[in-house]
């Protein structure tokens, strides 16, 4: 896989050096040498010396253990949350999207894989037991790409076994890759949703460095559906540029032509948003990118967003396009204000009631 080939250095936390999973990963990456370290700080002190520590972090693998894995998605203050839970097993992403918040969110973070699966399993079981009979949505794609390292870790099939037959508990594996091979080797659990972030061809080519093409993503989605998985799609971030309407319309047209509407579990929409720090980083790391030079306002949460009238126009356009296939009820907005939700959803609902687009999952 391209993403494993880009790894140049491997560090192993002393606490997990005897883990079978570590041995397995190291043998796959052989003959790359590895170094045993005492903590993340040891790795960070190396990354600091690189000309581009963020890029260096994407070439550096750190195998370690984590204390906790499940967290409520922090969303953003003042936005309508969707009740999502993040399952943070891998931290940082080998892809290099210009707009990726992880560049600002993490400081000096190598590609980090937590290998302490026994603790992960125990935490998940406790979590499920405490929330029996609730509809739960969890995902591994918030702080990394869910499938980029799957060939190395076999994580997807490990998680599939833990989630299988748990009614009402949904695991989302979100990716910009076409790496679905391991998922096609197991019987697909009903509650695993394989999700793709989608964008226009132009944005994929110019901003989503190292990611799979639109064709590859849609082809993998079709394979997953044929094999029996439910799928989801995230148009996030939608980026405004001169030909955005036509080019996103093309993507949605192709998606709806190829992927049966009945297999789509949900579709999220979010327009480009970022803290000021990300703009500083991206302007330096991606000098050719123009997306940060558009018109933004500093919104209620301190993040920069397109002015609300433009965001509304974008969301309504997407809603109209999905409406043709009766899918508009499966749309939700990511990190948007109640005002925008009400306007797009054409409802007077308040607070969390706005973000209940998942009633069909019950």
């Amino acid at each position: 896989m391209f993403w494993t080939k880009q790894i140049k250095k491997i560090y192993v936390n002393r606490q997990v050096k005897n883990s079978p999973l570590v041995e397995n990963i190291l043998s796959q990456l052989s003959p790359l040498p590895f170094q045993v370290v005492n903590s993340l700080e040891d790795v960070q002190s190396e990354l600091r010396l690189a000309p581009d520590p963020i890029a260096e972090g994407k070439r550096t693998l750190f195998l370690t253990k984590e204390k906790a894995f499940i967290r409520p998605c922090p969303c953003t203050p003042g936005a309508v949350g969707c009740g999502y839970w993040t399952l943070d097993i891998n931290l940082n992403c080998p892809l290099d999207c210009s707009y990726c918040l992880l560049q600002a969110y993490f400081s000096l973070q190598p590609l980090t894989i937590a290998v302490n699966r026994r603790e992960l399993e125990a935490e998940l079981k406790t979590f499920f037991n405490r929330r029996n009979n609730q509809v739960l949505r969890l995902g591994t794609g918030e702080l990394s790409d869910s499938l980029a390292f799957d060939s190395l870790t076999g994580q997807a099939s490990f998680l599939a076994d833990l989630f299988r037959d748990r009614k009402g508990v949904w695991l989302e594996l979100k990716t910009k890759t076409a790496s679905v091979d391991s998922l096609l080797e197991i019987a697909p659990p009903d509650n695993i949703v394989v999700a793709w972030s989608l964008n226009s061809r132009r944005i994929i080519a110019s901003e989503e460095n190292g990611s799979a093409s639109l064709e590859e993503r849609l082809k993998s989605a079709c394979l997953a559906v044929e094999y029996g998985y439910k799928v989801a799609f995230h148009f996030d971030p939608v980026i405004y540029y001169s030909n955005w309407e036509r080019e996103y319309e093309e993507v949605i047209g192709e998606l709806l032509d190829r992927v049966p509407a009945g297999s789509i579990a949900w579709i999220s929409l979010g327009t480009l948003r970022f803290p000021g720090k990300l703009k500083e980083i991206a302007r330096e790391r991606f000098p050719q990118s123009l997306i940060f030079e558009e018109e933004f306002v500093k919104a209620w949460d301190g993040k920069f967003r397109y002015p609300k009238p433009l965001r509304l126009k974008i969301y309504k356009k997407f809603k109209d396009l999905f409406q043709t296939q009766g899918l508009s009820n499966r749309l939700y907005l990511c990190m948007e204000s109640p005002e925008v939700w009400r306007e797009v959803k054409e409802t007077n609902k308040k607070g969390k009631l706005l973000a209940s687009p998942f009633s069909w999952l019950n």
């Binding site: 010396l49 330096e284 030079e293 558009e294 919104a299 002015p307």
Partner: protein, 321 residues
């Protein structure tokens, strides 16, 4: 360390190898030195029969301004390396004041010159300067300090680190143009000016001179050159309007509509200029019940005119609709 009175003329002030102070003495300090002289000895390095000033550049400048011939000085022990001396100068200042970005850049350059390794600089010095402890920070500041002609303005403008890479991305001629303009701005405006120019240049793919000659901008640049009051404010506003055309247009429409609404008395109407919130807030003044009744009646009357509808239509508006 030996303390002695030295002649100011024995100081080789042209040798500024240990200097990283860009600010001169302020008026209060000058007045104090005028009254009581220099009370805290400066630190000097003895070399070839004369002295190199290590710390106390403001004190020496104030002493010279006050016409003093001698000042107290501590002579640093022989055998200290230049790096040890510079480290001493740094830590003496570090405990007493904040450094500007331009001074931080000078510090980095000199630490490197005196042989401090990048690794030590990153681990030991950058965190103390409240700068990201990583190599790109050093690279940015080394590039910045090479523009010695710009340092006084960068110091005065209290630039933050984030402004430096934007500024450095312009070619030299444009950097000079920016510094020429920046002189007329306060520090917040300088950062915004550079950010706006960066955005417009990248968006329009034009030379800076072409952007600054555009019909909405050119006359304001001329006004600035002529020193007209508040010309800088007007220039930043015009650049902002160019960088945020949709938002500016909608805000102009809203403000024009608000002007037409006949609010009673000293009434004011506030709205969210980012357009995130649709709601407006109205401020009314009344000193007694009768006045309040009248104000509310007038407000109610004003609702009959169409401007309120127009206002809320714009606030709820969708672009191109």
């Amino acid at each position: 360390m030996e303390i002695k009175e030295i002649d100011l003329s024995d100081l080789r002030l042209e040798d500024r190898c240990f200097n990283f102070t860009l600010a001169g003495p302020d008026e209060k300090f000058l007045a104090s030195v005028q009254q009581v002289g220099i009370t805290e000895p400066v630190k000097i390095k003895a070399e070839d029969g004369s002295f190199i000033l290590v710390t106390g550049w403001k004190r020496v400048e104030a002493a010279r301004a006050a016409g003093l011939k001698k000042i107290p000085a501590r002579i640093l022990p022989a055998g200290l390396t230049d790096l040890e001396i510079f480290r001493l100068a740094f830590f003496e200042n570090y405990s007493q004041r904040d450094f500007s970005l331009a001074e931080k850049a000078l510090l980095i350059k000199k630490f490197l010159k005196f042989g401090l390794g990048q690794e030590e600089l990153i681990a030991e010095i950058l965190p103390r300067l409240q700068l990201p402890p990583e190599r790109p920070t050093i690279e940015t500041l080394v590039k910045l300090v090479a523009l010695d002609w710009a340092l006084p303005e960068i110091h005065r403008g209290r630039w933050k680190l984030a402004t430096a890479p934007l500024f450095l991305s312009f070619p030299l001629e444009e950097q000079k143009l920016i510094i020429g303009l920046a002189v007329a701005f306060n520090h917040n405006q300088q950062a915004e000016l550079i950010d706006l120019l960066f955005t417009l240049k990248k968006r329009q793919a034009k030379q800076l001179t072409a952007i600054l000659s555009e019909k909405e901008i050119g006359p304001l640049v001329e006004e600035m050159k002529e020193g007209k009051p508040r010309a800088g404010d007007r220039l930043v506003t015009a650049l902002r309007e160019k960088a945020l055309p949709q938002l500016s247009r909608i805000n102009q429409e809203i403000q024009a509509t608000i002007k037409q609404i006949n609010l009673p008395g000293q009434g004011r109407l506030n709205y969210d200029q980012t357009l995130e919130k649709t709601a407006v807030s109205i401020y009314l003044e009344a000193r007694n019940k009768d006045q309040l009744e009248l104000v509310l009646k007038n407000l109610s009357e004003s609702l009959k005119a169409g401007e309120w509808d127009t206002l809320f239509k714009i606030l709820n508006n969708k672009i191109d609709e």
